[in-house]
């Protein structure tokens, strides 16, 4: 079986400007931040980013790498409004495809199942229809038995991705990915909806290790939908990655209150190792 392990730089070397990129996690939870940081070290731009947005979107927006964003929200969770995303939106820095959380999920489901769309009730009557004039509805071929009504629903188009980036707690070298926290979020769907999916993880382990202490249903990602595996300890930082680490709230607050250029100069100028040691140095100063 093929060994899919690689470095973060090898992962991003296979991405290119203009592609549609899905980013897993949710808000400020288990985001593939080390891969996002690696992406920021390249010159890749003009991205269509598909994400339940958190600081991944904030960083890419602040760095001017997004041409279009597909999302239902962008938040830091403990800090409701993502400041860099907000600033970028208010200066009209990119196009936005704003859909509801459930529409977004059905878009990924449609892509993963190779369907052109899936019907969803959400969106009807809301301004999601106004700000996405390309959205169409679909009428059920079946009439409701009691009312005789043939329901008209939103036809959520497939959110097909050129590439997906997700972060797991564990993975083996073949790309079997495991989450150990309370919520899988939608990372399996992101991988299945993408032509190529790269998984960063806290630790690469032998396949036999995956089920030694954890239940089989923690095995979220199948290797058939994973292209690359990279070990990035603390790689979701500063978002949460339970049970390996919680959210780094003080550091997230620093991120949210520091001008991007200043933050990038101190923390994003070097490689991932330099980032992690700059974070440690900052925490030491705070004591």
């Amino acid at each position: 079986m093929s060994d899919k392990t690689m470095t973060t730089d090898e992962v991003v070397s296979r991405l290119h400007s203009g592609m549609t990129l899905g980013i897993g996690g949710w808000g400020s939870r288990r985001k593939p931040m080390a891969l996002v940081r690696a992406l920021l070290r390249t010159r890749i731009t003009d991205l269509t980013v598909v994400s339940y947005g958190g600081p991944d979107v904030g960083l890419l927006a602040a760095a001017g790498r997004i041409r279009r964003l597909v999302t239902a929200f962008t938040t830091l969770d403990s800090i409701p409004l993502e400041p860099h995303y907000r600033a970028a939106r208010e200066r009209g820095a990119f196009e936005l495809t704003e859909v509801d959380e459930a529409m977004f999920m059905w878009g990924l489901h449609a892509a993963a199942n190779r369907l052109p769309f899936l019907p969803v009730r959400a969106g009807l009557g809301s301004d999601v229809m106004r700000v996405n004039p390309g959205l169409r509805t679909v009428t059920s071929p079946y009439a409701d038995a009691s009312s005789g009504v043939r329901e008209e629903l939103v036809a959520m188009p497939a959110l097909r991705l050129d590439a997906a980036l997700v972060h797991m707690n564990r993975a083996d070298r073949q790309g079997n990915g495991q989450y150990l926290g309370p919520d899988p979020y939608f990372d399996d769907l992101f991988c299945e909806a993408a032509d190529a999916a790269d998984v960063s993880c806290e630790r690469v382990v032998d396949t036999a290790e995956l089920t030694k202490e954890a239940a089989p249903q923690t095995l979220l990602l199948k290797r058939s939908s994973v292209t690359g595996v990279v070990e990035t300890p603390n790689g979701a930082h500063f978002t949460s990655c339970a049970p390996d680490h919680g959210r780094d709230e003080p550091f997230q607050k620093l991120y949210a209150t520091t001008p991007y250029a200043e933050f990038a100069a101190r923390f994003l100028a070097g490689d991932e190792q330099a980032y992690q040691s700059a974070v440690r140095a900052w925490h030491k100063e705070q004591r």
Binding site: A72, L81, E98, E101, R121, G123, L124, G125
Partner: protein
């Protein structure tokens, strides 16, 4: 109807605070809901949902704010990751109380942005799950500071769908659409009017109809006799003050 006088300065601590009336009014949203998920957003709705479960609606389900369904003492009783939470929404076994940056007379709600959507003057959260919530399960709202900036003639971006917009969108939109109540720091509101426009359902003690009218940016339907928000029972007060919110989070959200 004469307005109630505000609590006297230096009144004993036993005086029911405005925040406590808000808790009661939020809790009432989940009365007789049966075995459904209560999804409160914000401190006072959260205290209200817990109060309802501890008293008159014991079958309610609650989450820990993450992926676990938990009992009142925090004991996990089930698993509810986001994708199953969305099925709870679309299956209808849920009553959510959301916040609102803007809310209009027919219950259209905005949490996405203020100004022109294409180039907002203030970017907020985004539509989040408001469209799916409002079309699928009962959706109530909580507004901690009632003002004409929140209660507007027309919202800038319809996230949560109101009665007029649902009706215009047809039977798929109206089929499960329901906005049981809006609770603010001034009173309780519903849409029990012929055209489903917002109506003043009860005033919190100490608030006048005039105050509510001045703080509302559209013409509100006001019945001849406006009831007061009910008094908490001594047991409810004890639960709020000693068990559910001993740290006083409610008073930081709504001051007396």
């Amino acid at each position: 109807m004469s307005p109630a006088s505000p609590p006297a300065p230096g009144a004993p601590a036993a005086t029911v605070t405005r925040a406590e009336y808000c808790v009661i009014a939020c809790a009432e949203a989940w009365r007789d809901n049966g075995e459904v998920l209560a999804s409160p957003m914000g401190p006072i709705p959260s205290i209200g949902a817990r109060l309802a479960k501890r008293t008159f609606s014991p079958d309610l389900l609650l989450t820990d704010g993450e992926a676990m369904l938990v009992g009142l003492d925090g004991t996990p009783e089930g698993w509810l990751p986001y994708r199953q939470h969305l099925t709870m929404v679309t299956g209808g076994r849920r009553h959510v109380m959301m916040g609102a940056s803007q809310l209009d007379r027919f219950g259209n709600q905005n949490i996405s942005c203020v100004g022109d959507w294409a180039r907002p003057t203030r970017q907020l959260l985004g539509v989040r799950g408001a469209p799916v919530n409002t079309l699928n399960n009962p959706t109530s709202y909580w507004v901690p500071r009632h003002s004409p900036r929140v209660f507007v003639e027309r919202v800038d971006m319809v996230c949560g769908v109101g009665y007029d917009r649902a009706a215009a969108a047809g039977p798929s939109a109206t089929r499960f659409h329901r906005i049981p109540r809006v609770v603010s720091d001034l009173g309780v509101f519903d849409f029990a009017t012929p055209d489903h426009s917002m109506r003043l359902a009860s005033l919190h003690p100490g608030v006048t109809v005039e105050q509510v009218r001045e703080a509302t940016g559209f013409g509100l339907s006001v019945p001849d006799e406006v009831p007061r928000t009910r008094e908490p029972t001594p047991e409810e007060l004890r639960l709020i003050r000693e068990v559910i919110d001993p740290g006083g989070a409610r008073d930081r959200e709504v001051r007396s």
